[in-house]
Every structure is written in C-alpha cells, then in structure tokens.
C-alpha cells in the first residue's frame, strides 16, 4: 500500500511535470507528426522564396502543405507537411537537391518522428552506414540530408534497437586525421597515406589484413564547396565548377521497379521509350541505344536514380527499363521517367521562338506575348542565374566558358576518361559543346527580353528579329549536346574528385577504433624517414567519429522534458518515502524496539551461559529494526520507482535517457529500465536506516504504555494497533487502522465527544466471533464461556 502510495505520488508529480513541459514543446514544434520539415529561407528572399517553395512543392511533392512559421535570426521558417504517399526514400532523398534550387534557401530540419539520425557521417563510412541502414529491421526508409543519414522508423519502439545497433557499428570504426604543418605534393601525400596504412596494417599482424585504409580527401565533404578548406587547387576547383554545370544539363532517370530490384549503384540499364513496341534487345535495336548508369537505389529497392551515359535521348518522359549484363540486354525490370533539362530548355526555347514568330507575323500585342514568353523562358533564366553564380564564384581570373573547356580537357588527359583517343575525343567534344552554350549569347538573350519588357508599350515587332536569332542559336547548341557524353563526364568527374589525392596538408585513414596517437605518429614519422620526436609538434593527429547518433529534434526536447520528469519523480519518491517512513514506519520501528525490550523481559535465563546467549540474541535483535528500516526504505523508494517506471512504460512514457540508445528512443518507447531504480533504492535504504536509528526520537513510544497495555491483558498487536499507532503521527497506518480499530471510536462518535470516521467491522477485533472465539474465550472455564456469550451481546449492542 505504501509502495503504491509512493509510486502513485511520484507518477502524479512526474506526469504533471511532463505534461506541462510537453505542452510547451508542442507549442513550439506543433503536435507530433503534424510537421515533417522546417525549411529556412533568408528573410530578404522570404516572399519570393515562399512562392518558389510553393511552386516547387506543387510540382515535385504535390499535396505538401506549408505553414508559415516565425522569422528568427534573419531566417523565415516554413513548416512543411508532406503527404504520406510522398514520404518515400526517393522523394525524401531528393529534398537536398530540390530545396537547394530555392533562392535564399539556407537549410532545413527534419521534424519527422520517429527517426534516428546518424549525423556527420564521415564520407569514408557512408557505404557501411547505408548498408547497415538497409539491413536493419524496423527501418521504414532512409535518406541523406547533407552528411546526415536520416532513418525513418516503423514505430517508436524500434528506436532503441536501431540506435544501439548503429551505435555499435559506429563505435567499431574511426577516422584518424593527420594535419601536416607544410603541404605536400599530391604524389607524396598519396605515397605517405598508403605507406602509413601499410605500416599500421603490418602492426596489426598478418598479411592481407587491411584494417587501416587511406581516405581520399577531395570531394568527400559536401560542405567543402568551391572554396572548401580541403587543400584543393585551382584545377580541382575548376573541375568542381565543371561538375556543377554538368549537373544542370545531365539527363536524369527516375527508376521505378515493381519488385525490389537487385540493381546496385554502378550497374547499367537500357532505356527504351515507353511508347515503342518490341522487347529487350529488339526494342533497343530499333533506336539508338540509350544506356544509363544507376547512381542510387532506394533502401526498399523499389526505386532509384540513374544518369544517361550513352546515347542521345529524344523520346518522351516515360521509358521502359531493361537490365544489362556485359553489354547484353536482359529482361524488362521496370519503368522510368526521364528528366532532361536539355530537352526542357529546347522545348522552352522552341515555344518562345514560336511566340515571337507568331507575334512578328500577326502583329499581336507585345505585352501579352512577353508574358507567355517569360513563362516559357523561366527554365532558361534559371540557367542564366546558375551560370552567373558559377562565374562569380570561380577562383580563376578569366571568367569565361574556356575555363570549363580547359578543365574538362585536363581531366580527360589526367584520367584517360574512357580510355585513349576516345576519351580525349569525348572530352574535346564536350568542351566544344559547352563552348556552344555561349555565355555571351545567353546574356544577350536575357538583355533582349528585359529590353522588350521595359519598352513593351512602344515596341515594334520588327525589333524581335535579333532575339529570334539568339534563341535559334541557343536551341541549336543545346540540340548538339550529347546526353551520354554529359552523363559519362559527370560520373568521371565524380569518380576523379573522390579518388584523387590533390596536394595538401591533410591526410586521413579509416580503421578500427582505439588506435593510439603515438602509433600513428610513429608510423608517419617512419614513413617520412624521421624519428617520431622530430615530427613537428604542430603536426596534429585527431580522431574523428564515423558518425554520431542523434535523436530527432522533438525527441531532443522531449528528452529534456523526460529528464525533468524523472528528476521530479525521483524527488517525489524520495520525499514520499521519507514521509511514509516518518509518519508510519518510525512509529512501527519505535514500537518494535519497545516491544522487543518488553519481550526480552519474558526470557527465562537462570544459568550464566543462558544469560550470555540471551545477551547475544538481544544484540542481534537490536540490529533487526535497522535492517527493517533499510529494507523498508529501499522497498518504498525502489519499489515506488519501479512501479512508477512499469506503469509509465505501460502508458507509453518509459525509457532511459542515460544511454545513447535510450536517448534516441523517443517518448513513446515502452520499456522500464531497472537501472533507473538503483539510485532511489540506495536513497530509500539510507533514509530507512536514518529513520530506524532515530525512530524513538522521531516517534516516541512511552514504555509505560506498553507496560500498562500488557497489564490490562492486551496483546502486543492490540497494543500496537490500539495504542501506539494512534498515539503516533497521523500516517497511512492510522488511516488504514481506522477501519479495523473498534474499541472506542464508534462509542466516541455516539457520545459526540469526538467525531472520527470509523467503519465498524462486524465481529471485529474485540467483537468476539470473527476469529471463531471471543477475546477471552479459548474454551475452559464457565466464566470464559460466559464472557464469550457476553462478547456476542456486546457486538450486537454496537
């Protein structure tokens, strides 16, 4: 009863605290799962950004709702709610790319629940983490958000096991980073990286073990950017610039598979326009072969992405997908949607050209034509913006498209791209194609449109002629671009940027966790043919985690809430335990001590050894109240906490916040952590001991009253129940005893001497019949029989 009281009190206090704080959290973040994303746009671009965001979402993630949030720190916040059918690995995986198109976009936060996020995943570990995420049970899907891998879970209960398994994986590995005081040439760095790895692996024992591997430095961090601090030179930056431009034109393929596919990143597939008859190779042979390379397969294997790497796609947006193995076409495995910015731009330009031609020939009003023209050229404008940004950010003095051509040529030479002459030819052709996308021409086109907009009222249709020429020229250049070459070049660039080791002063190795800094320092020094101590002190060695498990934003806040709740619960349990100990147990323990002494009086010991034994027994019995106090305190506090945890867990609020797994578990994880009872158990035991030691001071029991009770013929239990406890502090026992105490309360109430709520138990302690005999009647004398009869009469009289 007391344990339940303590547990209930603790739970009530905890519940009230958590409810109050959780409501605060909901006030900030909305109700659970009411919002999925928090998108931030610079306040300067807020209005346009919102419109652009709405358009983007309507086009790419239809059904997504936007709620305007507060503007904080120069950022306008937008809460997005994505429809359930759009919460797929493919759609969520595209968020980074989609939202990056917004002007003024500064970032977004995932508010979905329940999720587990592996943040700051080191690029060297991306494949492992990705593979682990795919194999974990309870993970609905996963997607990348920058360097963070976000795992959306089936239900909150999975959070603990998913977190702990990921945590184990992350704890096994580490990245060791060496920062040299002086930069080394690319070749030297590469040799140093390989040499150190070999030495470390040799130290691990056994040949063929490659536990430590050098990590390619360039292109590994998405945050590196054009001006990243990864030691990239001008060439590398030029290549990055080229990659950005290629990403604008490359033909992307969105894959869908009716069944989970076995395709992996790097596999090739054949694309055939959907409206084309025929099967597999036959269908492929009827048109110029269009081959795509898979770049990503979603965690559930039902969709993915690819790039066209061979051929020129001139079909519609829908395509059939055939498997390919060793350049042979296999079975049809799914469908695809082709997204060709090049074709879209051509279509837009054609539309613009048609409009202008029509306006020129029919004398149509120019303002109306311009409106339609602007809509058609929106895609072109984006291209113009991108090119502007590209050239403004370019580190090279000469800002023209020749940089890109040069970069591609250098790349082709460095890599041999697809090998020998072909590669060179491909690079050269691409460079020429890119040159065809003349920036001058693009700029002229933009100025022409702007000029027409400004002078639309006065404009003469004859002024449209130069604009038409520009449009035709641009359209022609775009038609000449080869989808396959663009895609292959982009992939080659990616590969080169990831694999190359450019000159710089940083090196990284990945390997098992726990490598001593000294060992790495020695390996580096040995490889540099220097003694370890001569390696400059400024050569810093640091270890980086493979990734960090983090709960979602809501869980982080609710974790704080739950911590507060647990603290309140603990304090409440401690206070209630102390109160129960003071008000009830102190009286009981004090009475116990007095009764023990009273019982000791009844021990016969007429021999000296008997008296010694009695003395020893008395000493042991003196310890008993202290042990009882410790056990009672521990039971009250520990039991109260445990019952509280179990009830809490049953109510969906359990969980531990002291472990990463528990931390990431979220609020609805239903488990009770026995470890959480340890502290209350100890505190309760200490309180119990203190109360037991001071019991007779806290709740004095006059020994004379025990004597008097005994002399009146009361049993120890009666003395305890009728005299000691009612005389003690008004505690729980007194409340409970009010039901069974029968001697005086009723009569007192009848007389109106003192009103005390007492429920009479028929045939109670002194009623005489409930135990089958009267208070004095255990058979025997006539007087006793008479007394028993009187007892019944007395009971009736009540």
């Amino acid at each position: 009863m007391a344990v339940v009281t303590v547990a209930a009190g603790g739970l009530l206090a905890r519940g009230a605290t958590e409810a109050f704080l959780a409501r605060l959290v909901e006030g900030y973040l909305g109700e659970e799962n009411s919002f999925d994303l928090l998108v931030q746009i610079h306040t300067a671009d807020a209005e346009a950004g919102r419109q652009a965001l709405a358009e983007l979402l309507a086009r790419e993630l239809p059904g997504t709702r936007i709620k305007v949030g507060p503007a904080l720190g120069g950022q306008q916040n937008y809460f997005l709610t994505i429809p359930a059918e759009r919460k797929t690995a493919r759609d969520l995986g595209r968020l980074d790319a989609l939202l990056a198109r917004l002007s003024g976009f500064s970032g977004y936060t995932v508010l979905m629940h329940p999720v587990v996020t592996v943040s700051r995943v080191h690029p060297a570990f991306r494949p492992q983490i990705q593979e682990a995420a795919s194999s974990l049970s309870g993970v609905k899907l996963w997607f990348w958000h920058g360097d963070d891998l976000v795992l959306l879970l089936e239900n909150p209960e999975e959070s603990a096991q998913v977190s702990s398994r990921l945590q184990r994986l992350l704890q096994r590995s580490q990245v060791y980073r060496l920062e040299l005081p002086v930069p080394l040439a690319a070749g030297e760095l590469s040799r140093l990286a390989d040499g150190v790895a070999a030495r470390l692996n040799a130290g691990e024992g056994g040949e063929g073990t490659a536990r430590y591997q050098p990590v390619p430095l360039n292109g590994t961090r998405s945050s590196g950017g054009l001006n990243g601090s990864w030691g990239a030179g001008d060439l590398e930056q030029a290549l990055r610039a080229a990659r950005q431009v290629l990403q604008l034109y490359v033909t992307r393929v969105e894959l869908r598979f009716p069944e989970a596919t076995n395709l992996r990143s790097g596999d090739r597939i054949l694309l055939v326009p959907a409206d084309l008859a025929g099967e597999g190779a036959d269908a492929g042979s009827q048109v110029a072969a269009v081959v795509a390379q898979v770049t990503e397969v979603a965690s559930d294997g039902t969709d993915g992405q690819a790039l066209v790497v061979k051929g020129q796609w001139n079909g519609g947006e829908a395509a059939r997908v055939f498997a390919m193995k060793d350049d042979r076409v296999g079975a049809e495995i799914g469908s695809a949607t082709i997204d060709s910015p090049r074709l879209k731009l051509i279509a837009a330009l054609n539309r613009a050209e048609q409009l202008l031609t029509s306006a020129q020939s029919s004398g149509q009003e120019l303002p109306q034509v311009l409106d339609e023209l602007e809509a058609a050229l929106r895609g072109v404008e984006k291209l113009l913006d991108r090119v502007d940004i590209l050239f403004q950010n370019s580190p090279v003095e000469e800002k023209d498209q020749l940089l890109l051509t040069l970069a591609l040529r250098v790349l082709t030479e460095e890599l041999g791209l697809t090998g020998g002459e072909n590669g060179e030819r491909a690079g050269t052709a691409l460079g020429e194609d890119m040159a065809g996308l003349d920036r001058e021409r693009l700029m002229r086109l933009r100025k022409g449109i702007e000029r027409l907009q400004q002078q639309s009222a006065l404009a003469d249709p004859s002024q449209l002629a130069p604009l038409l020429v520009d449009l035709k020229g641009l359209s022609g250049s775009l038609r000449d671009l080869n989808d396959g070459q663009l895609g292959a070049s982009l992939l080659s660039l990616e590969q080169y940027l990831q694999a190359s080791t450019a000159a710089g002063s940083h090196l990284e190795w990945r390997g098992p966790a726990g490598l001593a800094e000294e060992r790495l320092r020695e390996a580096v020094a040995a490889e540099l043919a220097e003694a370890a101590e001569t390696l400059p002190a400024s050569a810093r060695i640091t270890s980086l985690p493979a990734g960090i498990i983090q709960p979602d934003a809501r869980t982080q806040l609710l974790t704080v809430v739950r911590s507060a709740g647990r603290l309140v619960n603990f304090l409440s349990v401690a206070v209630l335990t102390l109160l129960v100990l003071l008000f009830d147990q102190a009286t009981v323990i004090a009475a116990w001590k007095v009764v023990r002494r009273a019982k000791q009086r009844h021990v016969r010991a007429n021999r000296s050894w008997e008296r010694v034994l009695v003395g020893l027994r008395g000493a042991c019995e003196r310890l008993a109240p202290a042990i009882y106090g410790v056990c009672t305190g521990a039971l009250l506090a520990g039991g109260g906490s445990f019952v509280g945890l179990v009830l809490n867990a049953a109510g969906g609020r359990g969980g531990d916040v002291t472990t990463p797994a528990g931390l990431a578990q979220g609020t609805a994880g239903a488990f009770a952590d026995l470890g959480a009872c340890q502290l209350p158990l100890i505190v309760g035991a200490l309180l119990g001991l203190l109360v037991a030691l001071a019991a007779e001071r806290l709740s004095p029991v006059p020994e004379e009253q025990i004597w008097a009770g005994e002399s009146l013929g009361l049993s120890y239990r009666q003395i305890l129940e009728e005299i000691v406890i009612p005389t003690g502090r008004p505690g729980l026992y007194q409340l409970l005893l009010a039901v069974s105490r029968t001697l005086f309360t009723r009569a007192r109430r009848d007389r109106g001497v003192r009103s005390q709520a007492v429920k009479r138990r028929p045939g109670g302690l002194y009623g005489g019949t409930s135990r089958g005999r009267g208070p004095t009647g255990d058979g025997g004398t006539g007087r006793e029989r008479n007394v028993e009869g009187e007892g019944k009469a007395w009971q009736v009289s009540w």
Binding site: A598, Q600, R601, H602, V603, R604, A605, N606, S608, R611, V614, G615, G618, P702, E704, Q705, W707, A708, G709, E710, S711, L712, G713, L714, S715, I723, P726, T727, L743, F744, A747, R748, R751, V753, Y766, G768, G774, P775, T776, G777, D778, E784, V787, E788, E790, G791, A793, W794, S797, W798
Partner: protein, 255 residues
C-alpha cells in the same frame, strides 16, 4: 491455597550478574493488604512485575488460587492479567483515550456488554471521586487525578488482586493525600488481595495487614506493622522504626 503464593522467585536482568530477586517467597490471602518496603533497588517493583508476568522470573513459581501463573502462556496469561489490577508509579494513561475510555478498556477486553461496561467504568470513577471528569482527556487532569484515573481503570476490571507500584511516588505532596485516601478506602473494604509497594512508613502502618521488608532482592523481615516497626529484628527494620519516631516527633512538634 486461595490467594497469591510466591515461591523461590529469582530474577537477573540481562547483562547483570547481580540478582534482582533471590529466592523470594510470599503469600497474600484474599482481602489482605501486604505492604512491601525497602530501599531503592531492593527489587520491590520487579517483584510486582514478575507476579503479573510482565517480567519473566529466572526461577520460582507464582500461584493464584492454586493456578500456576508462571506456566500460563498467550491468551491464558492475558486473561490472568485481566484479573489483576496494576497501578503504576507513572500514570500510564492512554493519552488518545478519554478518562472513561481508559476505564472502559478493561471491561471491554473482558467481553462485558457495553452498557454494563460503562456502568462498571463509571462506578470505578465514582469510587475515586472522578465520575464528573469522565469525558476529559488525560492531558486535562492534574497528577493526582491522573493517578486516581489509573486506579479507577484498575478497579473497573473488578480485580481479585491489586498490585500498587509506589502509586504516590511521582506525585506532588499536596496531591498524595487524595490517592492515599482512595487506597486506604479500598484496603478497608478488603474486597481483594492487595500488594502495595511504598516508601511511606506511616501510610504502610495505616493500611497494611502485613509489612514485608526487602533488601537486595531478598525478604529480610515480615510481620504486622505494629510488631515489625515496634520490635524490628533487622537493621532495615530499625531504620524504619527510626523514621517513624522522627516523623512522630516532627508531627508532635508541629502540633
């Protein structure tokens, strides 16, 4: 034999080698009032407690009307105690019970019907002159009144044996009188056997049928008060006679 018979009582307290009672023998007939006197630590209170089995003797026997009290256990023992009225040195009233409730406790435990129990309790209170205070709380009473309530509580059980453990020792001298009167009246009634422990020689002379002198747990002298205090055979007896002489001289001087 009727009345109380004590044979060979010996008692040690745990941790002490010195006996509190040594081979103590005593007989008290029904209606007889025996006063036990002796210096502090002589074992007088212990003797009463052993007789009421509040303390267990190491050796010896206690009989009441031929019943071996020393062998009683559990409910039988408690039933025996209900036949004995014990008035303690300290008042030992139950503070959470009214005066009447304190006095009702014995009859109720004996299973007497409520109305009868009330009658008996009120009668006991009337005998000590406190019927009008029946609804008071012990805390509202003076020391003498409290002790008289304790006597009434013992009387309400209509005991066959009354044990008095220095009933006036803790009282203000001004309050001693009312308790003494009460006790003297009861002794005069000779309705039950009484064993009274007291230090007051004059009081003992007044109420005792017999006086027993105790020292170091042993009975050293026994006799009718007139004979014992007039012709004491032991040193202890002589000391008491001297006390009586001084008291008489003081009384005569003051008179």
């Amino acid at each position: 034999m009727a009345g109380l018979m004590v044979r060979g009582l010996t008692k040690h307290f745990p941790g002490s080698s010195k006996p509190v009672l040594v081979d103590f023998n005593l007989a008290v007939a029904p209606g007889e009032t025996v006063v036990i006197m002796g210096p502090s630590g002589a074992g007088k209170s212990t003797l009463l407690r052993v007789i009421d089995r509040l303390l267990e003797p190491d050796e010896g026997e206690v009989f009441w009307n031929g019943i071996p009290v020393h062998q009683l256990q559990g409910e039988q023992l408690r039933r025996w105690r209900r036949q004995v009225g014990f008035v303690f040195q300290q008042h030992s009233l139950f503070e959470r019970m009214t005066v009447l409730e304190n006095c009702l406790l014995g009859p109720r435990l004996a299973g007497i019907p409520e109305a009868q129990a009330r009658e008996r309790a009120l009668a006991a209170l009337a005998r000590v002159g406190l019927a009008h205070l029946a609804d008071r709380w012990p805390a509202q009473l003076s020391g003498g009144e409290r002790q008289r309530v304790a006597i009434a509580r013992a009387l309400s059980m209509e005991p066959e044996l009354m044990l008095w453990d220095e009933p006036t020792a803790s009282l203000d001298p001004l309050l001693v009188g009312e308790v003494k009167q009460c006790l003297a009246a009861l002794a005069a009634e000779r309705s039950c056997a009484m064993l009274v422990v007291t230090h007051e020689v004059g009081f003992a002379w007044e109420i005792a049928s017999r006086v027993v002198l105790m020292e170091a747990g042993r009975k050293v002298e026994e006799g009718e008060p007139g004979e014992l205090f007039s012709h004491p055979r032991t040193e202890l007896g002589r000391k008491y006679r001297q006390l009586i002489s001084e008291g008489l001289a003081l009384y005569l001087t003051n008179k």
